[in-house]
């Protein structure tokens, strides 16, 4: 059994699926990073991803255009981001409660529409054609590495590319600096004549769009059919990745990869029929998430004004 496990092919397969599974977590986590850096604590990521995953599926199913599905998912995420920031920054409702409301909204509305539109056709389950992996010429032919790194769907490449992009944006542009300042010391930003509210709107809607694209990965990039509750905690893992990654893009990527590795590992073990209760394996990422949170607060770079509404004096 152990010999099988150590076979190169299996290792390659685990690593390749790690990148695939990390994609939605990473996309949502990078979006949440920008949102939280502006001072808005959006706990509705799970609901945004679920709603977007459904919208991506539904629009693709009825329009026949998968790219329209991606667009719909991004728009859905952006819209829910708008709702979040409207409640958080303009109405100044408790952000934690608002985020939870978004989760419930995503779960409820996606379940309802799914029942309404797709459940009647019990006999033939509605399916869509999903994105196919892109094999990057030459690079994907490299033994092992080609399969691990260069044979993925576009969203995986997109997610990995966004890591340096977000880093550059946050740390090397004026707008990024303003967003970070809005989360760190909003009064200072206001004093400089820059609108804290507007920055938070931008950051939260951006975070929503990223969560939306992340949600679309779960359907358009992974499953030809939609299952209610398809996110199964991916949105929450994204939030944990931001904390475990100490609000820094590259560490967030590492945290996302770690969660994904555990899932890939347990999937692979099930796949080769190892006699081990798979429930324990499936619970690993969530257990690891709690462990990752333990003590991560001590060296925290959490934005000082995270979760606090801004009141202009």
């Amino acid at each position: 059994m152990l010999d099988d496990l150590l076979q190169t092919a299996i290792i390659v397969s685990i690593l390749a699926s790690t990148l695939r599974i990390a994609t939605p977590i990473l996309l949502a986590a990078l979006g949440e990073l920008v949102t939280e850096r502006s001072g808005v604590l959006n706990l509705g990521v799970e609901g945004m991803m679920l709603m977007s995953a459904f919208m991506a599926f539904m629009v693709t199913y009825f329009s026949g255009s998968i790219w329209l599905g991606v667009l719909a998912a991004a728009a859905t995420g952006g819209l829910m981001g708008f709702l979040m920031v409207f409640m958080a920054a303009t109405l100044r409702v408790e952000q934690i409660v608002t985020g939870m409301a978004l989760n419930l909204l995503g779960a409820g509305v996606s379940l309802f529409w799914h029942r309404l539109l797709f459940d009647k056709t019990q006999a033939n389950v509605a399916t869509i054609d999903i994105f196919r992996p892109i094999h990057i010429p030459i690079l994907s032919d490299i033994p092992y590495f080609g399969e691990i790194f260069f044979s993925h769907r576009w969203m995986t490449f997109f997610a990995l590319m966004m890591v340096p992009v977000i880093w550059f944006f946050l740390y090397r542009t004026k707008y990024g600096l303003q967003i970070r300042a809005a989360g760190e010391n909003p009064r200072a930003v206001d004093t400089k004549g820059v609108s804290v509210i507007r920055l938070r709107y931008f950051a939260t809607i951006f975070g929503g769009i990223m969560a939306g694209i992340g949600g679309s990965v779960l359907t358009l990039g992974a499953s030809p059919r939609f299952v209610p509750g398809i996110t199964a905690g991916v949105g929450w893992l994204a939030i944990v990745a931001v904390i475990a990654g100490n609000w820094r893009p590259y560490r967030i990527m590492l945290a996302s990869l770690a969660f994904a590795f555990l899932q890939a590992f347990s999937l692979q073990l099930q796949g080769i029929g190892v006699q081990f209760p798979h429930q324990i394996l499936l619970a690993l990422p969530y257990i690891f998430a709690i462990i990752a949170m333990m003590g991560s607060r001590a060296r925290s770079e959490a934005p000082s004004a995270l979760g606090l509404p801004y009141f202009r004096e």
Partner: protein, 316 residues
């Protein structure tokens, strides 16, 4: 539109049978609503009622496997104690992680929800000890009549869990409003730093609050297991814990408000089934409506306040 509302209403409150079924459906919601209320009063964000309910039910079932042969009254008390303790222990775990390792309770309780579901699935899996012999479904054997929560109104499903839920509401009200502990919980929610300076054992308070909150959710688990399902099933709780959060917020964190909102929500759920039969609208629309109601209620509360502030500014 009108026939739809009519169907919803008559399905919820239109007949004796409907009212009793509505009360039955409100039972677990009262308990999870109280669980959220107790924790949220301390601004401790226990999102884990879902998992605590599952662990509470499992713990309650464990009591049955141990003491199944005991006299009915004693078994009943043991089931209640075990369920409460199970939920409480699971809540306490989140509390311990919070005070000892500074793990945010929102994250830990959500993660513990998933872990509880996998644990339940493990116990009911083909290699798990609770799986009903030869069953295709992931479920335990049926709990015998004598161990179930008694139905106290004939021709209905309304079981003694409803009484427990009402008693729990009174208990939570007394705890919050009439005891020193309740005062400390509210004070901590209002200003945690002040509580610390005042000399309150904040760590103990946080853990105790989460334990009590988890215990209430655990009771909801026992109520569903022994009052409704009569066997351990995978979907012991489909969102009951999350609905409890909505209910607690809509009830403005008032224990008796929780009872009233829960009965309304129980009616919504119940009415939605009739609605589905009459109009074909999936009953799942209720969960969408509940979330939308919450969003509107949150906004409305703020907007009401906002106007007052404005008029003061205008005057000055």
């Amino acid at each position: 539109m009108l026939p739809a509302f009519e169907a919803l209403f008559t399905g919820a409150f239109g007949s004796r049978r409907a009212v009793l079924e509505t009360l039955t459906r409100s039972t677990p919601l009262i308990l999870t609503g109280l669980a959220a209320t107790l924790a949220f009063r301390a601004k401790i964000w226990n999102i884990g009622a879902e998992g605590q309910l599952v662990i509470g039910a499992m713990s309650g079932y464990f009591a049955f496997t141990l003491f199944g042969g005991f006299p009915r009254a004693i078994l009943f008390v043991l089931i209640i104690l075990f369920s409460f303790a199970g939920g409480a222990a699971y809540g306490l775990l989140a509390g311990f992680l919070k005070v000892r390792f500074r793990v945010d309770e929102i994250i830990s309780t959500v993660m513990l929800n998933y872990i509880a579901a996998f644990f339940l699935s493990l116990m009911l899996s083909s290699i798990g000890p609770w799986r009903e012999e030869g069953s295709y479904y992931q479920q335990s054997a049926e709990i015998p009549e004598a161990a179930r929560f008694p139905v106290f109104i004939s021709d209905s499903r309304l079981h003694v869990g409803f009484v427990i839920a009402l008693l729990a509401a009174v208990a939570v009200w007394i705890l919050l409003e009439k005891t020193p502990l309740g005062y400390e919980i509210r004070a901590y929610g209002f200003n945690p730093v002040a509580s610390r300076f005042k000399g309150t054992n904040v760590s103990g308070l946080v853990m105790l609050t989460l334990a009590l909150s988890g215990g209430l959710a655990g009771l909801a688990g026992a109520s569903e297991l022994y009052g409704i399902h009569h066997r351990v099933v995978m979907d012991l709780s489909i969102g009951l814990g999350f609905t409890g959060i909505i209910i607690a917020m809509l009830a403005a964190l008032d224990p008796f408000g929780v009872v009233i909102v829960s009965i309304l929500f129980g009616g919504l759920v119940n009415g939605a089934f009739k609605l589905q039969i009459v109009t074909g609208v999936p009953s799942a629309f209720i969960s969408a409506i509940q979330a939308i109601v919450l969003l509107f209620a949150l906004s409305a509360a703020v907007l009401a306040r906002y106007r007052i502030v404005r008029s003061v500014e205008d005057a000055g």
